[in-house]
């Protein structure tokens, strides 16, 4: 159906918390260079899905192949290596409160490549900061920044490792519509510049419309439907239509 190389392949993914079935034989494929938005209501298991992909949660069963490797089978070391190639933007940004912006950005660099020289680190930090347009905040604390700025810093922190795949966990949630638009633009820009594949999890229809090549609908733990925005919008299925109201 698509000639491009798949970077994430999810097959029969199941995850339950107690009696609560969150993901029930979920299937999804992300291709190289693609921007895929996973839409779902709150509590439908979007965050669980993305955390399974990055290995923060262990699925009960099923395969998650990221860049050809099955995530649940990886040991800690290999998982680290894989994670260096996958950027993850947290819903709450997850900037370290006790560190300055610079230290926040340096943190993953130092962690993944301990041998990097200080000069090089400084350069990379400034580069990504300029890219998100916040070079002046380099010595500020995260608490001094606005929500939108924090989101951008968080994005810069994931970009600094030049990932092949970006995972966005509700990137526009909690931001005003204008700032949300800025972030959406930034996501698109990042994709062009760094040639990344992106999996975006959201319930923001604006984001789905403007930033996605393809949309996957997560309903009742299953991948209910996939397709471009326009195609899904014209669907007659009431469950799909419910998103577009």
């Amino acid at each position: 159906m698509d000639t491009r190389e798949p970077v994430i392949v999810i097959e029969d993914l199941c995850k339950t918390f107690g009696n609560n079935v969150v993901l029930d034989h979920f299937n999804l494929t992300l291709y190289r260079g693609e921007n895929l938005v996973v839409l779902g209501k709150s509590g439908s298991g979007k965050s669980v899905l993305i955390k399974c992909i990055i290995g923060l949660l262990r699925p009960d069963s099923g395969r998650i192949e990221v860049l050809g490797e099955n995530v649940p089978d990886l040991n800690y070391h290999d998982l680290d290596l894989l994670r260096a190639k996958v950027g993850f933007l947290f819903q709450s940004n997850a900037l370290y409160d006790s560190m300055t912006v610079r230290e926040n950005l340096e943190f993953p660099l130092r962690r993944h490549w301990l041998q990097v020289e200080q000069k090089e680190v400084d350069m990379m930090v400034m580069e990504v900061l300029e890219h998100v347009g916040l070079a002046h905040t380099v010595d500020m604390m995260p608490a001094e920044l606005s929500g939108g700025m924090r989101k951008r810093i968080a994005l810069a922190r994931t970009l600094i490792l030049k990932p092949a795949i970006m995972l966005y966990d509700e990137p526009t949630t909690g931001l005003d519509p204008i700032t949300g638009m800025e972030i959406i633009e930034l996501i698109k820009q990042v994709q062009q510049q760094y040639q990344t594949s992106a999996l975006v999890i959201s319930h923001d229809m604006v984001l789905a419309e403007t930033a996605s090549e393809r949309i996957a609908m997560l309903i009742e733990g299953k991948c209910y439907a996939t397709g471009p925005y326009a195609e899904l919008k014209t669907s007659t299925d009431p469950k799909i239509q419910a998103f577009f109201i």
Partner: protein, 240 residues
């Protein structure tokens, strides 16, 4: 909790070691607590002396005050009060810090950035607390004894040399060594309980407050239980 402690030991003895973070935590946990601990220790020594004095005078043994205060500070009050204050200050701050990091996904972020958050956060803080509390207790003991010296001098003139001879003469290794050893366990308890409560904090800002609070309560209770055990074990070991 037991599994958490077991994991601590598993992770603590395997590379990689987060040395620079450990030093930073030692600074925050140890050095930054010194002023608070020092102040309370000073007041403790002073007040203890002044409170003891009337009953000692009644029995005509006010000359024994330095010996008595010395023994009680070194053996029990210094370690336990310092540990409780430490639990209040450090236990709550670790609980709140880790709790908020958990809530705002910073712990997850760390894991994604190729860092074992358990090593980076829990091991460093627990080790720092374990190592720093004994240092604080030693300093607190010295400060409390100085406070006690001033307390004695409110009523009578006593040379510092005599005071310290009286204190030291009535102390032995039996008093000092177990008292120092137990503070390592107190420190460990404060660190590990704070980390445990923070690390498994429930979602939401309320969870952060709760983990900070319960970290202090649980750590304090643990300190008393450990103190009780320490007395028993000391008696046992020293009489072998």
């Amino acid at each position: 909790m037991a599994r958490f402690t077991a994991r601590f030991f598993r992770e603590a003895f395997h590379p990689r070691y987060e040395f620079s973070e450990l030093i930073r935590q030692c600074f925050i946990i140890g050095y930054k607590s010194l002023s608070l601990v020092g102040l309370t220790a000073f007041i403790m020594g002073l007040v203890l002396t002044m409170q003891l004095r009337p009953s000692m005078v009644r029995y005509g043994v006010e000359a024994e005050i330095p010996a008595m205060v010395g023994i009680s500070i070194i053996r029990e009050i210094g370690p336990i009060i310092t540990a409780l204050i430490f639990a209040g200050k450090i236990g709550s701050s670790i609980g709140a810090e880790l709790g908020s990091m958990r809530v705002t996904e910073q712990i997850d972020a760390m894991e994604v950035s190729g860092t074992n958050p358990f090593k980076y956060l829990v091991v460093t803080r627990t080790v720092a607390a374990t190592l720093m509390l004994p240092v604080l207790v030693i300093l607190a003991d010295a400060i409390a004894l100085y406070g006690s010296y001033l307390g004695v001098n409110i009523y009578e003139i006593l040379s510092f040399k005599l005071f310290y001879t009286l204190v030291i003469d009535n102390l032995g290794y039996y008093d000092v060594i177990p008292a120092i050893i137990k503070t390592f366990f107190f420190g460990f308890a404060v660190g590990i309980v704070g980390c445990f409560k923070g690390y498994y904090s429930s979602k939401g800002t309320e969870g952060v407050g709760r983990s900070a609070n319960s970290a202090v309560v649980m750590a304090s209770v643990f300190i008393f239980i450990l103190d009780l055990l320490a007395v028993q074990i000391t008696e046992l070991v020293w009489n072998l």
